[in-house]
Symmetry: C2
Subunit: 139 residues, 2 copies
């Protein structure tokens, strides 16, 4: 397996709207489409494009959102995860598991409409890492 595209950096925020206002004010950046709910992950999501990648703003959705605990420790928000692409999500899962990296649950639908899984940060140098199957449409 080769290290794939850095699809996005996930940034937790208590308010997507406030973060979008900040990115617009400091960088002139606009959202890539509207914010949307991703119930399978317990988050509300909005992307901001850079010329080569994306920032994924994530806000807690529902009382059990995994982002709530992160925001308790980091009330302003902060870097939450990085996401790398792979050509085949099931093949990638098999590779990670064979090498002893803990995959958190079964692949499920991610924000780009393809299957994703997360790897435990303790097996990734403290970095919560999302692995995402490359969308079929070109970048």
């Amino acid at each position: 397996m080769k290290l794939g595209r850095l699809n996005h950096v996930g940034v937790a925020t208590p308010s997507i709207e406030d973060s979008l206002a900040l990115y617009a004010r400091l960088f002139g950046a606009q959202p890539h489409g509207s914010a949307f709910d991703l119930p399978a992950q317990g988050v509300r999501v909005c992307f901001v494009d850079t010329p080569n990648s994306q920032i994924e703003l994530i806000e807690p959705l529902g009382p059990d959102s995994p982002v709530r605990k992160f925001l308790e420790k980091n009330p302003l928000g902060g870097q939450h995860h990085v996401c790398f692409e792979v050509p085949d999500i099931h093949a990638a899962k098999a590779v990670f598991e064979a090498k002893g990296a803990r995959v958190l649950g079964e692949p499920r639908l991610g924000a780009h409409g393809t299957l994703v899984f997360f790897v435990h940060p303790k097996d990734m140098g403290g970095v919560l890492t999302e692995i995402m199957e490359t969308p079929k449409q070109a970048h």
Copy 2:
């Protein structure tokens, strides 16, 4: 000012060698050149390429390295900063300051040989943000 390329994600680690071994084992990733010291930032640095961006592994250099405190809180390491490119570092500094974002010190030489500065995470939604003048050579 427009949001520039996501040049890299800075990942703090207690050992660049151990992190490189992890990236090689899980992703087949090789370092982009050898690790090197960056005394102005108090870090030792090594890059790993993704097809569209880079991971910057950073290890403390010297007793006063700002990365030491980060590793005390995150002994395994973790996401430390994100770095966006701008065409002109001094123009960017003026824009950030005019908009009330705290720039940490004067522009200084960064890991890619161009001038960089950091913006206070409290003014960037909790994300320590490096702003870097785009290298003159093409990507």
